[in-house]
């Protein structure tokens, strides 16, 4: 099971600011190990951030997103005490969902 994400969602005058830090290797598939064998690609492909069951951001990523990906954006309509959830799926089909309360 991959490590949990760190999600911070804060209510601001112009919307809810969401910052997510995911824990993932983001292996490109271009690197070789010490024996010269290619390290197989392993990276997050899709991310969906939902608020009230409705997506507020969807992302498609390639292996060029940095290790332990960071994501920041803002959406309108969220209120303090409500929840946002973030789900990612990687190219091996592993997935993880975490929730945070808007503060």
């Amino acid at each position: 099971m991959p490590d949990p994400m760190r999600i911070r969602a804060t209510e601001q005058p112009d919307g809810v600011d969401v910052r997510v830090l995911m824990s993932h290797e983001m292996e490109t598939g271009q690197r070789r190990d010490s024996a010269g064998a290619i390290v197989p690609a392993h990276f997050i492909q899709t991310v969906v951030v939902s608020y009230n069951g409705k997506p507020v951001l969807s992302a498609e990523w390639g292996p060029a997103v940095a290790k332990n990906p960071y994501l920041q954006f803002k959406f309108k309509g969220g209120k303090k005490g409500e929840k946002v959830s973030v789900t990612w799926v990687d190219n091996k089909g592993e997935t993880r969902t975490d929730e945070a309360t808007i503060g």
């Binding site: 112009d14 919307g15 983001m26 490109t28 271009q30 690197r31 070789r32 492909q45 899709t46 969906v48 409705k54 997506p55 507020v56 951001l57 969807s58 992302a59 498609e60 990523w61 390639g62 292996p63 060029a64 997103v65 940095a66 290790k67 990906p69 960071y70 994501l71 920041q72 954006f73 803002k74 959406f75 309108k76 309509g77 789900t87 799926v89 190219n91 089909g93 997935t95």
Partner: protein, 155 residues
């Protein structure tokens, strides 16, 4: 003998249930995975990527704002932010011209979400970084050169 067999079967039943429960999320995961645009991520250039995303070409625009450092000491972690001032922005893409595959990330922006995202990408070498914005099914682009002193691909 019999008893341990019984227990084994019982345990198997529970395990089966867990797998069955797991399968449901697995299916959802796979659906999400299928949304991934393989062709776009395998493209090598800006024009190719825009075509794979369903556009015919892109226009330079001052309404696309890309924020990235002039010099990135470590190509493995380059902070990039893109904001669009174009109305009806549907999606934002980040491309790196000289990476093995140009497209690094794409973001779908539903109504109500600000067309502004920030993330961190990897860069193999000094290159132009493109911010591509899709609005009203047209593509707009802005570029910024980022100098990389230490590559992030291959290490």
């Amino acid at each position: 003998m019999h008893r341990s067999r019984r227990e084994f079967v019982k345990a198997g039943g529970v395990l089966g249930l867990m797998v069955a429960a797991g399968l449901i999320t697995d299916k959802q995961a796979r659906a999400q995975q299928q949304a991934w645009n393989k062709a776009a991520f395998e493209s090598k250039s800006l024009d190719e990527t825009v075509k794979a995303l369903g556009g015919s070409g892109s226009a330079q625009s001052a309404d696309v704002v890309i924020t990235a450092p002039d010099i990135a000491e470590n190509g493995a972690v380059v902070p990039v932010a893109v904001a669009s001032k174009i109305p009806n922005t549907q999606a934002i893409y980040i491309l790196v011209e000289k990476n093995p595959n140009a497209l690094a990330a794409g973001f779908g922006i539903p109504a109500g979400t600000e067309p502004s995202v920030a993330t961190r990408i990897k860069m193999g070498q000094t290159s132009n970084v493109y911010a591509v914005v899709k609005a009203d099914n047209k593509f707009y682009v802005a570029a910024k050169e980022v100098k990389v002193t230490l590559g992030g691909c291959g290490g």
